[in-house]
Structures are given as structure tokens and as C-alpha cells.
């Protein structure tokens, strides 16, 4: 799963971090770090919960096929090609 981080919308509620501190990292002021996030399969439930708890809708699960076939994901071991 791939999560799009709309950094400019983030207002530092830290709800994502509270749900999944290993997936969502915060800066020193408490705002989510920029850059989209690839989530391992076993963390998907946790991550989607975190996305749904962001009051600003700053996080978005990218369900387009492009996201699923990003170069980073297309390792032989991904088993998806």
C-alpha cells in the first residue's frame, strides 16, 4: 500500500503517529515528515486506520495501479509482476 502525504495540509495533530509511530514520523515541531510512504502488507490495517484518523485529511491511500507498480515495488520478490 502507498500513502500520499499532503504535507501542506498537515497541522500537526499527530493522530497518525499515535496510531502507527513506525509508519508516520514527525519532525521536531510535531508535523508529519514530507514524502509519500510505502507500507508493508502486514502494516496495512494500522496504516489505513491512521489515515482515517487524520482530522485534516492530509493523508490519502493511493489506490491507483500506478502506485502499486511503482519502481520501488517492482522487485522480483514482490511477486506482483
Amino acid at each position: 500500500m502507498h500513502i500520499v502525504v499532503h504535507k501542506t495540509k498537515c497541522q500537526g495533530h499527530a493522530r497518525c503517529w499515535a496510531q502507527a509511530p513506525n509508519i508516520f514520523k514527525l519532525d521536531d515541531e510535531g508535523y508529519v515528515l514530507p514524502g509519500d510512504i510505502n507500507v508493508a502488507q502486514e502494516d496495512e490495517l494500522l496504516a489505513s486506520r491512521a489515515v482515517r484518523s487524520c482530522p485534516e485529511s492530509a493523508l490519502e491511500i493511493d489506490r491507483t495501479s500506478a502506485a502499486r507498480f511503482e519502481p520501488a515495488d517492482m522487485q522480483p520478490s514482490a511477486g506482483e509482476a
Binding site: K9, Q11, G12, H13, A14, R15, W17, A18, L26, D28, E29, G30, Y31, R49, R52, S53, C54, P55, E56, S57
Partner: protein, 405 residues
Amino acid sequence: MALNQVPDHVPPEMVGDFSLFTSPGMLPTPDGDPQAATACVHAGPPIFYSPFNTRDGRGTWVITRATDQRRVLQDADTFSSHRSIFASALGENWPMIPLELDPPAHGVFRSLLNPLLSPKRVTALEPAVRERAIALIDSIAASGTSCDVMKDFALPFAVSIFLRLLGLPDHRLHTFVGWANDLLHGDDVKRPAAARTILAFIDELAAMRREEPVDDFMTFILQAQVEGRRLTDEEVRGIGVLVFVAGLDTVAAAIGFDLAFLARHPEEQELLRSEPNRIVLAAEELLRAYPTVQIIRVARKDIDFEGAPIRKGDYVSCATMIANRDPAEFECPETIDLMREDNRHAAFGYGPHRCLGSHLARREIVIGLEEWLARLPAFRIKEGTAPIAYGGHVFGIENLIVDWS
């Protein structure tokens, strides 16, 4: 503008008769549930004009949908946060900082203060918070089988944490609570008097710390730099007053509402007592159900919003309790479900002004509930008593006598 007058540009059919100050359930009511009483607006339009909806009797537009509130609060270009709410009690005009500054100036001060109350920083404060909760609850448990949650726990707990943050001694606690009470809930004589007292206190504290710096909040503010310069006296004041006012009342009110709910729901109480790891999630639902503030913005320009002609200077109200009961945002919003997972509640607002103290507030609530449930047996509202709850600018609960005999 005369008091309660509906401005000419407001179409008469857009005037609604709901107000957080004057509607049924908003005045102090025994066993009242003011948050629930706000939910009636969802049967109506997404926006209406309420003629009596501020402390000084001004009207506001009221935004009833969570998604529209998000739109308003995220759009600081259109909706200003500068109201001089504290200074106006003194007939003056200066902002509490950062709350009443708009971007980009807001961001400068927000960046300065954010690290002081960041999730990381709050984690470091946690042991002191827990220690304080334990000390208060243990002394309550030792002294009998009944107490007033507000007076004996919620207020001294919240206020002492915040005094410690500011670097102030605990023994002035009752004095400060008295000032805050007069400021937030006093009449036309008490309010300005309290505002003047608080201002003098903040100025005096600043003078003391300037003379003799220590490791505390005020010293940090005095030594800080923004945009390559020191803060002005007015900026120091604006920050000091905000931190003082914001820290005193809101967390205590939240804890009061939460424990009142648990006192009335023994099954939920038992659930959290036997499975304390559920408290973190439950606290979010309690924040959704019992938020305490109405957020008001001032239109900076004319704008049509969902069919309403908002004109420059109009007040626009985003009441967190209204957003949090919006059926379009929350399934069965009237049901308080401590296991609710999808919970993008508005208790701390939305947008750049999101409550700076939210991380600390949240931890105080969770720790307060954890220690209370761990140290006291099943409790209920004491027979023959009824907690008095009220609406207004900050919702609150006056007394909460509980009993575990």
C-alpha cells in the same frame, strides 16, 4: 452595531434561533448535557445566522457541517483569527499569540512554540503528569468515599501541570483558578478586573525573568528570537496571556465531562477499568462527545458560503461540539461508543491554529482517567446531587460529586 441586531445583509430566512449562550440547555443546568443539545442544528441548513452567539451578545454565522468547518478553519486568507478577545475586555486591541495572529506571522510564532508542546516533549513531561495525578487521587481515596471531581481533582490536576510548565509554584493554584473563573465565567465587572490582574501578573513575571533568567517557559520566550530579533513586550504579553488562559480551564472541563459520563455508565467504567489499554481510544471518543470550545473567525472579505452572504467583518462560528455531532462525519453521532475507531473529531480545531496544547491535553486526560480508574472503585454520581453543566464560550461543568461508598 446594536446588540443582537441582525445586519441588513442577512436574509431573514437565514436567521436561526440556536445559540450556544441562550438556547435551551446552555444556561447552567443540573444534569445538563449542553454538547448533546447542540445537535439539533443538523436538522437545519449547513449555515445560518444566530443573533446571540458571543459573550458580548454579537451575532455569528454558524457552520453546522464538519467538512465546512474544516474549509473555514483551513482558509486563513478568508477567515481571520484576530479578535483581540482578551484585550477587548480591557478596551484594548492586541492579539493573543499565536492564536490571534494570521499566517504568515502566525507560522513564525507557531514554529517557535511548537517544540515546547510537541508529542516528543509531552512524552518527556509524562512522568510528572502521572505523579501529580497519583498524588491527588491517593489523597482523595484516603480522605473518604466521596469527592467533588472538579474541585478535588480536575482543576488542581490540570492547573498544577500547567503551572509547572510555566515554572510557577503550586501554592498559588487557587489564586489562579479564581482569576480564570472570573475571566471565563464572570460578569461585566469581574471579567475586566480579572483580565487586568492576569495582565499585571504576566508583565511582572516577565520583568522578574528578564532580571533573573531561570529554566522556564517565560525565560524561553524572553530569550527567543523570531526573524532574527527579540520579541517585543507586547508579543511576550500576547503569548503569556494565551498560555495562561488556555491552560487553566479546558483540560479540567474535559476531565469533568469524561468522569461524569463514566459515573453514569458503570458498564463502560468497568470495561476501561478491566482493560486500561482501551483508554487511549476511549479518550478520543470522549473528546468527540464532550469538546468545550466554540471557535470564531472574522471574515476578511465578502464571500458567499453555501448560499449565505458572509460580509467582511462578520463573525463565523465553528463550534467544535456541532462538528463532532455531525451525522455526515460520524456514524450514529449521538451514540458514545468508546470503541469508535474512525474519529476525526474537531475537539482541537482544524487548520493552522490547531490547538497548540493538544498533545499535552490529550495525555493529561488519558493519564487522569488511567490513574482514577486504577485507584478508585466503581463510582457514581452521589445520590441527591446533580452536576451543573453549561454552554457558552467554553463549555463546562461546575461541580461533580461522586461517591464510591
